[in-house]
């Protein structure tokens, strides 16, 4: 009796396609990597898991200005000058890219890599994406005014970020980013919160929520996990706009910092005392080969 019921059910299910002869729709690949977890390689300031493909060149220019509480006379911080970072990142493979950048704060040049270790899959077999992003920076500021000038080695800093992200839906993505930074030499001449501390670490949180097809709200939160003086929360909220080839990211953040080393080591304003700054990133992708 059961088998008879089964046959009838199967027949009924197939009946429309049998009757009308239409093709059964089938995907070419059932399982693919989840794409566009974030719109760009950075979400406000934090590295994301969004990889470049082989042959893609990503250019970005990032800015943060003075604190908005400086008022209208300073155009809410814009007149106070900007920390500017430009960077180029090239995809040598679909999961491996190398970047080069320069930040005006402390005149730091850095070289970084991003390696996608895991990719979230559409069938759920891999629920997260993980990328490792090491970088080396060199401070090129002039320290001739010091009794003991900085040697080449003194100028180096090293950072490691490990974005772990999940795209929960087509609209909402979240990531946690364990980060660590080491400065070979520190002092009050650097734009870091505590001149006595060489090693900083934190676990940043970032996310984005798409409220329109090409527009998303974004945020970052980088808590001060290092026992250092003057180190407080880094908070940022922003909006991402994808315009076909470009991604514009406009945000308010508590920190001037734009690279990993300084994101978790430099001072922050109090977000709720309007000690935050306007900033924006422009991202552009080129295909080289």
């Amino acid at each position: 009796m059961r088998s008879q019921v089964f046959i009838v059910l199967i027949t009924l299910i197939l009946y429309p396609s049998i009757l009308f002869g239409q093709l059964q729709r089938e995907r070419v690949e059932q399982d693919t990597a989840v794409e566009l977890t974030f719109m760009a390689p950075r979400n406000i300031n934090l590295f994301t898991v969004e990889p470049l493909s082989r042959g893609e060149l990503h250019y970005s220019i990032m800015h943060t200005f003075g604190e908005v509480n400086s008022g209208a006379g300073d155009l809410w911080g814009v007149d106070q000058g900007a920390n500017v970072r430009f960077s180029f990142e090239y995809g040598f493979g679909d999961n491996f890219s190398i970047g080069f950048g320069r930040s005006s704060m402390d005149k730091v040049y850095d070289v970084n890599a991003r390696i996608a270790l895991l990719s979230q899959r559409t069938d759920g077999s891999m629920p997260i994406s993980v990328t490792i992003a090491p970088s080396v920076g060199i401070n090129t500021s002039s320290f001739g005014f010091l009794d003991e000038d900085y040697s080449f080695s003194d100028r180096l800093n090293f950072s490691l970020a490990l974005p772990i992200a999940r795209k929960f839906s087509s609209d909402f993505s979240l990531m946690v980013v364990p980060m660590a930074v080491y400065f070979n030499r520190t002092g009050p001449e650097l734009n870091i919160s505590d001149p006595e501390i060489n090693t900083y670490y934190s676990v940043g949180i970032g996310g984005r929520y798409k409220f329109a097809s090409r527009t998303a709200l974004s945020f970052q939160y980088i808590p001060p996990l290092t026992d250092a003086e003057n180190l407080t929360n880094n908070i940022g909220i922003g909006i991402d706009i994808e315009t076909g080839g470009h991604v514009f990211q406009m945000f308010f953040t508590t920190s001037r910092a734009l690279n990993e080393s300084y994101l978790i080591s430099s001072e922050n304003g109090n977000f709720f005392d309007r000690e935050f700054r306007f900033g924006f990133n422009i991202n552009r992708l080129f295909r080289i080969r």
């Binding site: 009838v8 002869g21 093709l23 566009l36 470049l52 082989r54 329109a212 076909g244």
Partner: protein, 184 residues
């Protein structure tokens, strides 16, 4: 007695299938489709070789679909944008057309013949009735279908950048070419 009742129910349905999908049905899974975008500053096309189609001359049925995740525009990031931002392939993975021939087609005539079809084309979850003109040509291997038509992205609720850049044209030309083999 129950068995006979079951047979009475199932057999006619099966007969419908095997009777209707007859020797006049042609099918393929490796057809070519391209979507051409011609914007003022940029022309590009997305192509796929996974166009799947069926023409059943007895039933006057034309049924085509393509898995939109197989469309390649030549730039990976643009592919990702197209899938996630414009076509929403997570929810609507296929572009599909189902319709029928409006004009006569003589499968015994080996010449390329102009044909006109009427059917429903859907993409991004929006379905619209369209007329498509093309050619059908009997070949030693089967039927060669070539067709071309234009769609407007607004008609299918496909959002495109309107701020600062216009790299995706409102008007998209769709060209297909597919050799369909007799269905066994």
């Amino acid at each position: 007695m129950k068995k006979y009742l079951l047979l009475l129910f199932v057999v006619p349905l099966l007969l419908v299938r095997f009777d209707e999908v007859s020797a006049q049905a042609y099918m393929a899974e490796d057809g070519y489709v391209e979507f051409i975008s011609t914007a003022p500053l940029l022309e590009f096309k997305g192509v796929s070789n996974h166009l799947t189609g069926l023409i059943d001359l007895d039933e006057n049925l034309i049924d085509f679909y393509v898995d939109l995740t197989t469309i390649d525009t030549g730039i990976q990031r643009r592919n990702r944008d197209m899938r996630s931002t414009y076509l929403n392939t997570d929810r609507f993975p296929f572009a599909e057309f189902t319709g029928s021939l409006l004009t006569d087609f003589d499968s015994e005539n080996q010449a390329k013949q102009q044909v006109k079809t009427l059917g429903k084309f859907s993409i991004n979850g929006v379905e619209r009735e369209i007329e498509v003109e093309g050619t059908l040509e009997p070949t030693p291997d089967g039927l060669l279908l070539e067709a071309s038509w234009v769609i407007l992205l607004d008609d299918y609720n496909i959002d495109r950048p309107r701020v600062l850049f216009y790299e995706l044209a409102e008007e998209q030309t769709v060209n297909i070419s597919i050799l369909l083999y007799p269905r066994e």
